[in-house]
Structures are given as structure tokens and as C-alpha cells.
């Protein structure tokens, strides 16, 4: 089992994963026939992960919702052309990552270097206020340090290129195999490996002063 502190593990037990795969196939075929209920059920299998990805990369709930909406609408419109040549997981992640990459690129162009994110009403706030902490109040000092760390990391992530950030996000926060990451980003596993290496080097450089 891999280390999962601070890292949400999306994999279930093997059996459950296989069952889910079968379910998905049936749901996909139904959705292709125009069954909207089937599509909505399919969405529920993936949407929390998708929303998390969007939230991490866009930084605001508002933008995350927009990405979520665009991604699933696009999926709905195009599910007819899904030919099972890859898993639905890969397919939907592809759509989401493309939208997120577009978002990141647009943001880079606007040259916003503030690591602080904006909430839905445009006011600045610390996104990490949203993080539920099971041990809140138990150790305030520790909590503060963690939040500061979080802010520093967010700042460091902003320094990566959109692609580096995407690869890092998918590997570190979603636990995807680099081979899958390559599939999602339409690139080779080798390229994904190199990108991850560059990303971690940059992050280590940015956070070198931290223990």
C-alpha cells in the first residue's frame, strides 16, 4: 500500500474496481443510446475526483464548477464517439485536463503571480480555509504550520509550467500511474517521467528553505 498521508487514494480494492468497470460499460452504452439517467449515474462515479482536480488547478470554487460543467457537458455531447479504445476514466480525465490546461495557460498570460486565490465573489481568501481538519483545535500551532506549508506549496506550484503542474497533480494528488498520465495527456510515459522529474526539481528548489 502506498503512503497516503495528505494524499487521497482513488483506488479501491481490485474486485471493486473490476465491478465498477463492468458497470461503467453498461452505463456508457445506455448513455450512448440517449439514456440521460445512465449518463448522470456515470458522472457520479467520477465527478468528485474531477471536481477535486479542477479545484486544485483553478484555485477557486467558481472556476472549478465551470470546468466541471464544461467537462461533463462535453462528455455528454461526445459520448457517442467513445469507442472503448481507452477506459472511460482516461477519456473523462483527458477532457478535464485539457480544460484545466487551457485555464492555466490563460492565467499565465494574464500574469497573475499572487499565490492567494479568489473566492466566488472575487474577494481574496485562503483556499486552505476550506480544508476540513479532523484534528482542528488539537494542536493549533501544528495547524498553522501546515497551512503555511500549504500556502508555500501553492506558491511553488504556480511557478511550474501548466504541463509540469498537470503531471505533478495527477501523479502526486491523484496517484495515477505515469503511463496513465501519458495516455491522458496524449504523450509517452517517458515524457511524463521527465516532466515529473523537472517538476519535482523545481518544487524542491522553491521550497529548499523548508525542513
Amino acid at each position: 500500500m502506498e503512503k497516503v498521508s495528505g494524499n487521497l487514494d482513488p483506488t479501491w480494492g481490485r474486485m471493486a474496481g473490476q465491478e465498477r468497470r463492468i458497470d461503467d460499460t453498461i452505463l456508457i452504452r445506455e448513455a450512448q443510446r440517449g439514456n440521460r439517467g445512465a449518463f448522470e449515474e456515470l458522472v457520479r462515479h467520477y465527478d468528485q475526483a474531477v471536481l477535486r482536480l479542477a479545484l486544485h488547478l483553478t484555485g477557486t470554487e467558481h472556476d472549478a464548477q465551470d470546468v466541471y460543467q464544461d467537462a461533463f457537458l462535453k462528455a455528454y455531447k461526445n459520448i457517442g464517439s467513445f469507442r472503448f479504445e481507452c477506459s472511460f476514466y482516461t477519456w473523462i480525465y483527458r477532457i478535464v485536463t485539457n480544460l484545466c490546461l487551457d485555464h492555466l495557460r490563460k492565467r499565465n498570460v494574464r500574469k497573475e503571480d499572487a499565490p492567494v486565490v479568489k473566492d466566488a465573489s472575487g474577494g481574496e481568501y485562503d483556499l486552505l480555509d476550506q480544508v476540513p481538519d479532523g484534528r482542528a483545535g488539537a494542536n493549533p500551532e501544528r495547524d498553522l504550520m501546515r497551512r503555511q506549508l500549504g500556502a508555500r506549496i501553492s506558491g511553488a506550484l504556480e511557478k511550474l509550467t501548466p504541463r509540469e503542474r498537470m503531471v505533478f497533480e495527477l501523479k502526486h494528488y491523484h496517484g495515477l500511474k505515469l503511463r496513465t498520465v501519458g495516455e491522458i495527456l496524449h504523450t509517452t510515459e517517458e515524457t511524463a517521467k521527465n516532466t515529473l522529474f523537472r517538476a519535482t526539481q523545481k518544487l524542491r528548489g522553491a521550497l529548499a528553505d523548508m525542513r
Binding site: 495528505g6 486544485h56 455531447k77 480544508v131 497551512r147
Partner: protein, 310 residues
């Protein structure tokens, strides 16, 4: 240099991405090389550091809000590429897809269910028509097509343009030109043979009007329903002697009609004109070759009654 390779792959090792043989090599090397061991340790610590930071998770509210917004959007979204898919089953699709109430009454089913008989009806309030004096109590509008569906952005207002055919009623006697026109139209154009029959039946009461006779001739010649043809024949029967066109069409029916009842009736009705040269010619052919025994013998009888030609 081995160290270079190891340093490049330490990150992958930390993330568990190394293949078994590569992992083994790396571990072997690190056991012997202090530099690389230190690098591995640093990489590991960095990974742990990152993992200490809290991870932002979407709140349940956010998830719910996103799902609801998506559901709304799906109601008006269309799927593409239907026609390329082999599995498309229109009837099944209609059963499965749930339409929002705004769209439900406007969707054109005609194309999918197939057949002219099915259509959606919308009740349209119509004021009484002062010109004809007819007062349609209730008028139905059959929807024949949807022209456009647009949604006002930012609202839930939908504007739909649709074409209708409305059903009206008019009353009058056979002498009314409007009634005659409608009957003539019905005789030719209605897909419902019952309506055609009714109209032809009525028209037979006014066969001296030339357009009416035309309509009866047309019906006898082209109508697909033998009952309608028989009715038309009855209407025309009296004019076989005087009107060449009627005689010709009755002869045609006698020779070509697929229905024996129509042919028999045509034979009976042609009798007053049997002295005519063309009629005699047909009778002779029938007497000699016809499939139907009855027609054959009747033709012979008729010919026998005629005086010999020099």
C-alpha cells in the same frame, strides 16, 4: 555514470514508478553510494513534506451544487453523432429520455414514430370566423414541424417557433362552391380512403358539373381503393353513351382494373354503348381471351345481341 542514472530515477522510485529490475538496481547502488543515499533521503523527506500539507477537497455543498447545475444543463443539451451509431433505436430513445415540461409538448414525434397518422396536437383558441359564419367551437392545430428552439441566456425562458396545420369546419349544401371544392380536393388528395369514399359518394350526386365529372374520372382511373373506384363508376355510369371520356375510362376499368367487382360493374355499365366500334372491339377481345369466365360469357352474350356488321 551510474550516479547520474540513479539521481534521475530517484523521483520515480519515490513515487513507486520504477520497474522491478530498475528498482532493484537502484537499491543496490544506493546501498553502496553515500552521495546517492543522501539524495534518496532528501527526496523522500521532500515527498513526506508535501504530504503533510492539507489537501483541498471539494465540500459536499460544492459537489451538490455542481451536480445540480449539470443536471439542469443536461436537460437542454443534445447529444451528437446519433446517426453514426448503429445502436440508435428511436423508439427506445424516446422512452428513455425524459423531456422537461416546456419541451415535451412541442417535440415532433412524426419523424421517429413514422407514418403520417401520428402527430401531436395542440389546442388553439380560435375566434369565430365572421366571413363564413362558421363558428369552430374548438380548433385543433396539428404540429407539422418545429422551426427553432432558443433559450434566453441567463433565464429559463424558452422560445419555440412551430408550424401548424389547423383544422376548421365549414357547412353547406352540395351547391356551395366551397363544399364542392373541398369535396373535389378530398376525392383526390386525402390519404384516408374513407374520406375519399365519402367525398366521391357526394360528388356522384352532382356529376353534371364538369369538374365533378373530372374528379370521378380521376378516381376511377387512379384511386387505389376499389370501393372508391366502384363509387366513381356508379356516378359515371349514366354518361357512358354521351361522354367519350367516360366511355374510355369505363373501358379502361373493364380491361385493366385489378378488382373483379369493378370490372363486372364496368361491363354492366358499358352495355348501353356496346354498339360503339371501340366497345365492340374490347368485347370481342374479352369474349375470346378473358380470364374470368363470367366476363367472358357476358361479353359473348352482349356481342350476340348486336346486329352483324357488314
Amino acid at each position: 555514470m551510474k550516479c547520474e542514472w540513479v539521481k534521475e530515477n530517484i523521483t520515480l522510485h519515490v513515487y513507486g514508478e520504477l520497474a522491478d529490475d530498475a528498482r532493484h538496481e537502484l537499491e543496490q547502488h544506493v546501498a553502496r553510494c553515500a552521495d546517492c543515499a543522501a539524495e534518496l533521503k532528501a527526496a523522500q523527506e521532500f515527498h513526506d513534506l508535501l504530504s503533510q500539507a492539507p489537501v483541498v477537497t471539494p465540500s459536499p455543498n460544492l459537489v451538490t451544487a455542481a451536480r445540480m447545475r449539470l443536471q439542469e444543463a443536461l436537460e437542454t443539451a443534445e447529444q451528437g453523432g446519433f446517426w453514426q451509431r448503429l445502436a440508435f433505436d428511436p423508439a427506445n430513445w424516446l422512452r428513455q429520455v425524459s423531456f422537461s415540461p416546456a419541451l415535451a409538448s412541442a417535440i415532433l414525434i412524426l419523424g421517429f414514430a413514422g407514418g403520417v397518422g401520428t402527430s401531436y396536437k395542440v389546442f388553439v383558441h380560435q375566434p369565430p370566423n365572421a366571413a363564413t359564419g362558421a363558428t369552430p367551437a374548438l380548433a385543433e392545430a396539428s404540429i407539422t414541424g418545429i422551426r427553432s428552439i432558443t433559450q434566453e441566456p441567463g433565464t429559463n425562458q424558452i422560445a419555440i417557433k412551430y408550424d401548424t396545420v389547423s383544422t376548421l369546419e365549414t357547412q353547406g349544401s352540395l351547391n356551395d362552391q366551397r363544399i364542392q371544392q373541398l369535396l373535389l380536393f378530398a376525392a383526390r388528395n386525402n390519404y384516408n380512403s374513407g374520406v375519399r369514399m365519402d367525398s366521391v359518394d357526394l360528388l356522384t350526386q352532382k356529376p353534371d358539373v364538369s369538374q365533378v365529372r373530372d374528379a370521378l374520372i380521376y378516381a376511377l382511373r387512379y384511386d387505389t381503393n376499389p370501393g372508391v373506384r366502384l363509387k366513381a363508376l356508379d356516378g359515371l355510369g349514366g354518361f357512358v353513351k354521351d361522354d367519350v371520356r367516360v366511355r374510355d375510362v369505363v373501358l379502361e376499368a373493364l380491361v385493366n382494373d385489378s378488382n373483379p367487382g369493378v370490372r363486372t360493374e364496368a361491363l354492366r355499365l358499358i352495355e348501353p354503348a356496346k354498339a360503339d366500334g371501340s366497345v365492340r372491339g374490347v368485347l370481342m377481345t374479352l369474349a375470346a381471351k378473358d380470364q374470368s369466365q363470367y366476363i367472358k360469357s357476358q361479353a359473348r352474350t352482349m356481342l350476340a345481341q348486336l346486329p352483324e356488321i357488314d
